[in-house]
């Protein structure tokens, strides 16, 4: 879609009485496509109304400007209509007269009959025919707002600007009006920008949601695409598998902004002690069984033993939020899905690249692919069976969920599907859902399966909703799953702290792999502070036997590997496999200097030094394997990834650089 409006690097400042200036908006850039519905969301004082006024031409930007079809807007006009929360109807005029007054004013040269029919058409459009001769005082709040919308649309604006249009109404009445507004905007085909602070309202109505940071100097924090299919309703939207994950992203953003405003928390200043540059650390994790090393390092005193006195473990809602907190420096370090440091370093899907480093693999294995139980009942027991099912049901496009594009869940699930001739982009749909929402979404029937870490596979099995079709032991036994990720710049600023952190976690990893500790580990993780699950859901994967929902539970001692067999070494083969797969599926371009990228992200020397100091028997970093072979056919020679990509790159992937 061509862009109709451009907010071109707008900064808006207001003079203060004391001679200073208040910068409300700083460097806003936004393209608005014709016919698009866009929401501006943020807390009070985030400048959303200031931006709306600029679009309306009610005020002028201090720097930059607003372009409509490439021409700058300098004043208000009937091609941009604003609807305010307080309706602004003339109380002594009826519904029809209120609308007619505006039409007569803007189109004085049109014949009377045409003006009349414009008025009637718009009264009809908002469903107010029976109330056309009523006065505002005889109308409910929702009806008054519909009159205001009809009046605005009757002037045939190119842009409809809504400033908290339903702010004065109760949540359920809003729900009904949102539905009507959606239909009206679609019928009128008008480009719309709405200011709101209601999360569900923004998701329901918008094509894109622009999340604004707090003022002063408010800027665009994030733009969320809302891929929900249309027509939408409250119910179909909430039943869409990606709805609650989008909602969680918005709520997460707003909560961060709220916290920032309440406490003005900046990343905590470094407290140096014990020969370390910084002993106060904030480390992010996701409630999953494999956050175990972090939990153990704190609960069993490994952090303390190595001088890290104030370690706060911060439970994050999803990988995206965790990533943002690492970017902002709110987190010093984090448990990360193995592909994340590479994706952040390269810039996943056009994001700003940020050099990352990892010196420790926290866990290997631990994931599984779970399908809805009905596939097992239909005889699907491996990838080839799934392929047959898909071929036999061309009318149905299956939806599978994973946790992050750069996660091993996504990359291995894709390779598994591809190994059976299922195109993961064309034949099925893959979506991102935070781990704790997987089971509810599978039960709701809006996804058909998922690839996720424990305890969520076990939970689906225990609830009788899903069966496990493959575990990591069969998919790729020994792949790196979670790593300790830090910003390259952080590693440079706090080298001794980093070393102490790696050492503490290495010892915690060793503790996790001692069989006699596994039962205690299940109980430790069960605490609501960490995973918050029934220990009986955690122990099958940690202690065994593991129940796939297919009959007799079986022992699977390799389900999680935290230490033994050289598990903790950053593995160069893993790095190259990840870089190759990110490029294979078009998530990142493949870097020319791929060897250098792998070597810069993986701090293998640091690992080696720490492992030797800790007397770890498996201190030596793994040699690069000669071949990484999955599912018999999918074979990468890590010394020649380019050849692999020539043979395997998905048609959707960007050209190799």
């Amino acid at each position: 879609m061509p862009s109709l409006f451009t907010v071109d690097h707008v900064t808006q400042a207001f003079p203060l009485r004391d001679g200073g200036t208040y910068v409300a908006l700083r460097d806003i850039f936004l393209d608005i496509a014709e016919g698009e519905f866009l929401s501006l969301v943020g807390h009070s004082g985030c400048g959303k109304s200031t931006l709306l006024n600029l679009l309306a031409g009610l005020s002028q930007a201090t720097e930059g400007g607003i372009l409509m079809n490439g021409r700058e807007i300098t004043d208000p006009g009937p091609d941009r209509m604003v609807v305010f929360q307080n309706y602004s109807l003339l109380p002594w005029k009826t519904v029809r007269q209120n609308i007619a007054l505006a039409v007569d004013n803007v189109f004085p040269t049109k014949p009377l009959a045409e003006r009349g029919s414009i008025v009637e058409h718009h009264i009809q459009m908002v469903g107010l025919k029976p109330a056309a001769d009523k006065y505002p005082r005889e109308l409910s709040g929702g009806m008054k707002q519909r009159v205001a919308i009809a009046r605005a649309l009757a002037l045939r604006p190119k842009l409809l600007l809504l400033d908290e249009p339903f702010g004065a109404l109760d949540a359920l009445t809003r729900g009904n009006l949102q539905q009507q507004l959606m239909r009206i905007c679609e019928d009128a085909g008008v480009t719309t920008v709405m200011v709101t602070h209601a999360v569900d309202e923004a998701l329901l109505l918008s094509d894109r949601v622009v999340l604004m940071t707090n003022g002063p100097e408010a800027h665009i924090g994030q733009i969320l695409e809302v891929p929900l299919s249309r027509p939408r309703s409250q119910l179909t939207a909430a039943e869409d598998p990606s709805y609650y994950s989008l909602r969680a992203e918005m709520v997460g953003f707003l909560n961060d902004q709220r916290r920032a405003r309440q406490q003005r928390i900046k990343p905590a200043a470094a407290i140096a002690a014990n020969g370390l540059e910084k002993v106060n650390l904030s480390i992010g994790f996701i409630p999953l069984t494999d956050c175990a090393p972090l939990v153990v390092a704190r609960e069993k005193g490994f952090f303390l033993r190595h001088g890290l006195e104030q370690v706060e473990l911060r439970r994050e809602a999803n990988w995206k939020t965790l990533e943002n907190h690492v970017r902002q420096g709110v987190l010093d370090a984090a448990q990360m899905v193995a592909g994340l440091p590479y994706a952040m370093t390269l810039g996943l899907r056009g994001q700003e690249p940020l050099a990352m480093a990892t010196a420790l693999t926290l866990s290997r294995n631990g994931n599984a692919i779970t399908l809805h139980r009905r596939f097992h009942e239909a005889g699907v027991s491996e990838a080839a069976g799934l392929k047959r099912w898909i071929t036999a049901h061309p009318e149905k496009r299956l939806v599978f969920a994973m946790v992050h594009p750069a996660s091993m869940h996504n990359l291995i699930l894709r390779a598994w599907l591809a190994s059976a001739g299922i195109d993961p982009d064309r034949d099925v749909e893959l979506i991102v859902i935070p781990p704790p929402q997987m089971v509810a979404t599978l039960r709701a029937g809006t996804i058909d399966g998922f690839c996720v870490g424990e305890p969520w596979n076990t939970r689906a099995v225990r609830e009788g909703i899903g069966t496990v079709i493959a575990t990591d032991t069969e998919l790729w036994n020994g792949h790196s799953e979670k790593v300790l990720g830090v910003r390259q710049e952080w590693a440079g600023a706090y080298p001794r702290t980093h070393e102490a952190l790696v050492l503490a976690l290495l010892e915690a990893c060793r503790w996790c792999d001692q069989p006699e500790n596994r039962q205690e580990l299940s109980e430790m993780l069960a605490s609501p502070e960490f995973v918050g699950a029934d220990p009986a859901t955690l122990s099958p994967a940690l202690v065994g036997p593991f129940d796939r929902g297919l009959g007799q539970p079986m022992a699977d001692p390799a389900m999680f590997r935290f230490h033994d067999g050289g598990a903790n070494a950053p593995d160069r083969g893993d790095a190259i496999w990840i870089l190759t797969q990110l490029a294979r599926w078009g998530l990142c371009s493949f870097p020319d200097d791929w060897e250098q990228v792998a070597d810069q992200v993986q701090l293998r020397e640091l690992y080696q030094r720490v492992a030797e100091a800790s007397g770890s028997a498996e201190a030596l970093a793994n040699p690069v394997p000669s071949l990484i072979q999955l599912f018999g056919s999918d074979c990468l020679d890590p010394s020649d990834p380019v050849a692999y990509l020539r043979a395997h790159a998905h048609p959707g992937a960007r050209a190799l650089r």
Partner: protein, 278 residues
């Protein structure tokens, strides 16, 4: 479950009767075009210390129901009993907090509360205990600093804190909240919800609250009562909430049951009992 018999209503409180019993309550208003039934046969039992939210579209008779519990109106048939006593009038053991705060604008926050306390407990005024009650309730809602301010210089959230403090200062057994946070911005609303839960847990008061906000009900309540649309509205469903307490919003969002219940309530309100009129 226990069966409440009609005879229990007229006899003395039975030991096993639930704290609050809404017993076959119907409310009919006469109109020029004939009788109009707002509520039709409402049965609800609320245990002592329970937190119950009532949710439904506007016009479903929620406020009429609260009025009969608070004693502002009488049922056309059926009755409401608190601890076995039939409700006929308003009383300080059942305090109502409205969305519009209902504070006296010429009195400070402290004096608004003191007026109520002195009225209900005149004997406490003489020995200075009234002052202690007022102060402790101002503190409970975090308004000690702003006690001298008049409503006009308080934010919406602060005004609602004063109303809640005033209601609780009268030591009611039942706190009745009529969409108390509807007029507040989302951040303030969430803060007050958290504060309300803390106070409810401390004071061990029974709460009956009306709301339009599904997320608010899911965060606060032990049970959510879903009303059908009027006329002749009834209780459509009662959802017991399995979420452990103390509740933390972020943790709630991680629970699969949260989404099941939320979708269930959405389905009830926007499909099964969709409401076209606004």
């Amino acid at each position: 479950m226990q069966t409440v018999t009609r005879t229990a209503a007229h006899g003395p409180a039975t030991a096993s009767e639930p704290f609050l019993v809404i017993d076959g309550v119907t409310k009919v208003y006469p109109t020029p075009t004939g009788p109009y039934t707002v509520l039709d046969g409402i049965d609800l039992e609320v245990a002592e210390g329970e937190f119950v939210c009532v949710i439904g579209h506007s016009g479903c008779g929620k406020s009429t129901l609260l009025d009969m519990v608070s004693g502002f109106r009488e049922p056309t048939s059926g009755e409401v009993r608190v601890q076995g006593e039939r409700i006929r009038d308003p009383g300080p053991e059942r305090m109502v907090v409205f969305q519009n705060y209902s504070l006296l604008p010429w009195l400070s926050a402290r004096d608004n509360i003191a007026l109520a306390v002195n009225n209900v407990f005149p004997h406490l005024k003489r020995n200075g205990q009234a002052r202690t009650i007022v102060d402790s309730h101002l503190e409970m809602v975090g308004l000690s600093e702003a006690a001298h301010k008049k409503p006009a210089s308080l934010s919406g959230g602060m005004k609602q804190r004063v109303s809640i403090a005033r209601a609780l200062a009268l030591q009611p057994k039942l706190l009745i909240l009529d969409e108390p946070f509807g007029a507040l911005d989302p951040i303030t609303r969430e803060e007050l919800q958290e504060e309300l839960l803390r106070i409810w847990a401390d004071q061990k008061v029974t709460v009956l609250m009306i709301t339009h906000d599904i997320d608010e009900a899911l965060f606060l309540a032990d049970r959510v009562v879903l009303m059908t649309n009027g006329p002749a509205a009834t209780i459509g469903e009662i959802l017991p909430l399995p979420f452990p307490r103390p509740r933390e919003r972020a943790r709630l969002m991680e629970m699969p049951e949260y989404y099941d219940l939320r979708n269930h309530a959405l389905d009830f309100l926007f499909r099964r009992y969709a409401h076209d009129v606004d």
